[in-house]
C-alpha cells in the first residue's frame, strides 16, 4: 500500500537519509530499527511531508504520490502519525484529545461512533475521559496517543517509538494492542529502539544505518540474524 523509493531527505541542512526504499503491505506491522541518528524518525516525517525531499524521492500510497501534499491532505488520505512517543495535548481532557484526532472529520455522528470504538478498545481511557490527559500514567498516555490516531480510522498508522519511557510490562500491553489494531486491518509503520520486543510483533523490519538501508527481512529473520543480534539486540 505504501511504496517508498529513492527517499533522500534533509531539514534544509545536511542530508539525513539517502536513497531509502521500503514497502508496507496491507495488514502489516513494519518496524524500522537502527542506531540513534540513523534517520528512522526522518523517514516517518518525510511521509508526513515535514522534511525537504530530493526530487527523485517518491512516496506512493496506493495510487497517490504523497510528496508535495499538505499535512491535511495526507491525513485525509488515511495516514495518521504519532510523532514521538506519547504525544498528547496535556491540558486537554482525554475526550478532547480524541476530538482533536478527529479534527478533520466534519460529521459529528461519525466522531461519536469512532470515539465509542476507541473507548471500547481502550476501556481505561473511557474511565478517564474527563480527566486532563497530563494526569494519565505513561502507558495510558501512549494508549491515548494511539487512540487519537485511530479516530480517523486510518489505513496506515505511523508511530515514532511508542515504547519510549515505558515499563516492560506496559510495553508488552502496548504492543499487544498494536497487533490487535493490525488484525483489525490497519497497517503500522513504527520506529523502535526497543528492537527485541518490536521485532517479535513485526511482520517485517528494516535496519537503517547512517541514513541508508542496511538490512531487511521478516521480524523473525532479523531476530535470528547474528549481525542484528550483536548490534541492536544486545546479545
Amino acid at each position: 500500500m505504501l511504496i517508498i523509493s529513492h527517499l533522500t531527505a534533509s531539514y534544509g541542512g545536511p542530508t539525513i537519509i539517502k536513497d531509502v526504499a521500503l514497502e508496507i503491505n496491507e495488514k502489516e506491522i513494519v518496524t524500522l530499527i537502527g542506531p540513534n541518528g540513523a534517520g528512522k524518525s526522518t523517514v516517518l516525517r518525510s511521509i508526513f511531508g515535514i522534511t525537504q525531499l530530493n526530487k527523485n524521492s517518491s512516496i506512493r500510497f496506493f495510487d497517490q504520490e504523497l510528496t508535495g501534499l499538505s499535512t491535511q491532505e495526507i491525513v485525509q488520505l488515511g495516514i495518521t502519525y504519532d510523532p514521538q512517543g506519547r504525544t498528547i495535548f496535556p491540558s486537554l481532557t482525554v475526550d478532547e484529545n480524541l476530538d482533536m484526532g478527529a479534527y478533520l472529520l466534519i460529521d459529528s455522528n461519525l466522531v461519536r461512533e469512532r470515539k465509542d470504538y476507541v473507548y471500547k478498545e481502550f476501556p481505561r481511557l473511557k474511565e478517564r475521559r474527563d480527566q486532563k490527559s497530563k494526569t494519565l500514567s505513561g502507558g495510558e498516555q501512549q494508549m491515548l496517543a494511539i487512540g487519537r490516531c485511530l479516530m480517523l480510522s486510518p489505513k496506515l498508522l505511523l508511530l515514532d517509538e511508542p515504547s519510549i519511557g515505558l515499563a516492560p510490562k506496559i510495553i508488552a500491553e502496548v504492543f499487544e494492542k498494536l497487533v490487535q489494531i493490525r488484525d483489525s486491518g490497519v497497517s503500522i509503520l513504527m520506529v523502535e529502539q526497543n528492537a527485541t520486543q518490536a521485532l517479535k510483533i513485526s511482520d517485517r523490519a528494516y535496519v537503517l544505518e547512517l541514513g541508508e538501508n542496511r538490512l531487511t527481512g521478516t521480524g523473525h529473520e532479523l531476530l535470528k540474524n547474528p549481525e542484528v543480534k550483536k548490534l541492536y539486540l544486545g546479545a
Binding site: 491525513v75 504525544t87 491540558s91 478532547e96 476530538d99 482533536m100 479534527y103 487519537r148
Partner: protein
C-alpha cells in the same frame, strides 16, 4: 470601612476590563509564546474608533460598537499576518521588542490623527442615570452596570467558546503542542489568525468600556498592556482562567488599596500602579507560576 462596597465595585469595573485585555494577551502568548505589548494599544484604538463613529459621526451606540470591534479585529489580523506570523520562528524576545514597536506605531498614529489631548464620551452623552444602594454607601451609574454586565457576559461567552466549540478546542490544542496540532490536521496559520481576530475584537470592546469609565488619551494603551501583563503573570502564564482572575484581582487591589484609609494611612490614587507593580514583583519573586499557571522553566511547549 463604609466605602468598601464602593471600592469593590470600582475595582470590579476596572478589573473586568483589564481581564478582557489580559485574556487576549494570554491567548496570543499561548500560541506564539511572546508577550504582545501592542495588545493594549488595540484597546486604545477601539476607544478612538468608537469616539469617531459615536461622537464625531453621531452614529447610534450599537452600530458604532459593531464597526469598532470589527475594525479592531481587522487591525489585529493585519498585524499578525504581516508582522507577528512571519516572525514566529524568531526568539520570543525578538517578538516582544517588535510588539513594543508596533505599539508605538499604533499610539503615534492615533496621536497624529486625533491629537494627544484627552477626550471623553460624555460631551454628547446625557448624564448617566445614577443608582444608590445602602443609602449612599454605593453609587453606581447605569453605564457602570452595563460595563460590568457586558464584561462578564463576554468572559462567560469566551469560556464556553474555548471549552466546547471546535475552534476553541483547537486553539487550546495549539497552545499545548503546536507541532502535534499540525500533525492532526489543524490549520495552524488560520487558527492563529483567529486568535488575533478574537483577542483584538475583545480588546477593542474593552477599550470602549474603559473610555466610558475614564477618558481617552493615546497613552492609555501602553498602560493597559502593562496592566494586562501583570494580570497574566498573576494568574499564571498559559492559563486563560488565570488571566481573567488576575485581571479582576489587579483591578480590585488597585482600587481597594488606594481607597482604604487604615490607621490614618492611605495611598493616594495616583499611585495605583505602585500596587500593580508591587504585586508583579512579589509574584515573580515568590510565585513565578502565578495562581494557576506553570512557570516559564516548566513550560515544555516553549519554542524548540
Amino acid at each position: 470601612m463604609d466605602i468598601l462596597p464602593q471600592l469593590l465595585i470600582n475595582g470590579l469595573i476596572s478589573g473586568s476590563t483589564i481581564a478582557l485585555i489580559a485574556v487576549g494577551l494570554s491567548l496570543i502568548f499561548g500560541v506564539l509564546k511572546f508577550m504582545n505589548f501592542a495588545h493594549g494599544e488595540i484597546a486604545m484604538l477601539g476607544a478612538y474608533f468608537y469616539y469617531y463613529f459615536f461622537i464625531t459621526l453621531g452614529w447610534p451606540v450599537l452600530p458604532s460598537m459593531a464597526i469598532t470591534v470589527a475594525l479592531c479585529a481587522f487591525v489585529g489580523f493585519l498585524f499578525n499576518r504581516f508582522i507577528f506570523w512571519p516572525l514566529r520562528k524568531e526568539s520570543q524576545w525578538t517578538l516582544l521588542i517588535v510588539s513594543v514597536g508596533v505599539g508605538m506605531l499604533i499610539k503615534n498614529s492615533v496621536q497624529l490623527v486625533a491629537s494627544g489631548s484627552t477626550r471623553t464620551y460624555s460631551q454628547a452623552n446625557e448624564p448617566s442615570v445614577v443608582h444608590h444602594f445602602f443609602g449612599d454607601a454605593l453609587i453606581i451609574t447605569s453605564n457602570q452596570i452595563l460595563i460590568i454586565v457586558s464584561a462578564f457576559v463576554l468572559m462567560l461567552g469566551l469560556f464556553f467558546f474555548l471549552k466546547y466549540s471546535k475552534l476553541g478546542k483547537s486553539i487550546r490544542a495549539l497552545s499545548d503542542n503546536m507541532s502535534l496540532a499540525g500533525v492532526v490536521g489543524i490549520d495552524i496559520r488560520r487558527s492563529v489568525d483567529w486568535i488575533f481576530v478574537l483577542s483584538s475584537a475583545i480588546a477593542g470592546f474593552a477599550g470602549i468600556l474603559i473610555a466610558y469609565e475614564e477618558s481617552l488619551t493615546p497613552n492609555m494603551g501602553q498602560h493597559l498592556s502593562i496592566l494586562a501583563f501583570v494580570a497574566v503573570i498573576l494568574g499564571g502564564l498559559g492559563s486563560i482562567p488565570g488571566a481573567l482572575v488576575g485581571g479582576l484581582l489587579i483591578g480590585l487591589l488597585q482600587d481597594v488599596g488606594t481607597g482604604l484609609t487604615i490607621g490614618g494611612y492611605s495611598i493616594p490614587s495616583s499611585y495605583k500602579s505602585l500596587i500593580a507593580f508591587s504585586v508583579l514583583i512579589l509574584f515573580l519573586l515568590f510565585r513565578p507560576r502565578g495562581l494557576f499557571g506553570i512557570s516559564l522553566e516548566e513550560d515544555k511547549s516553549q519554542k524548540e
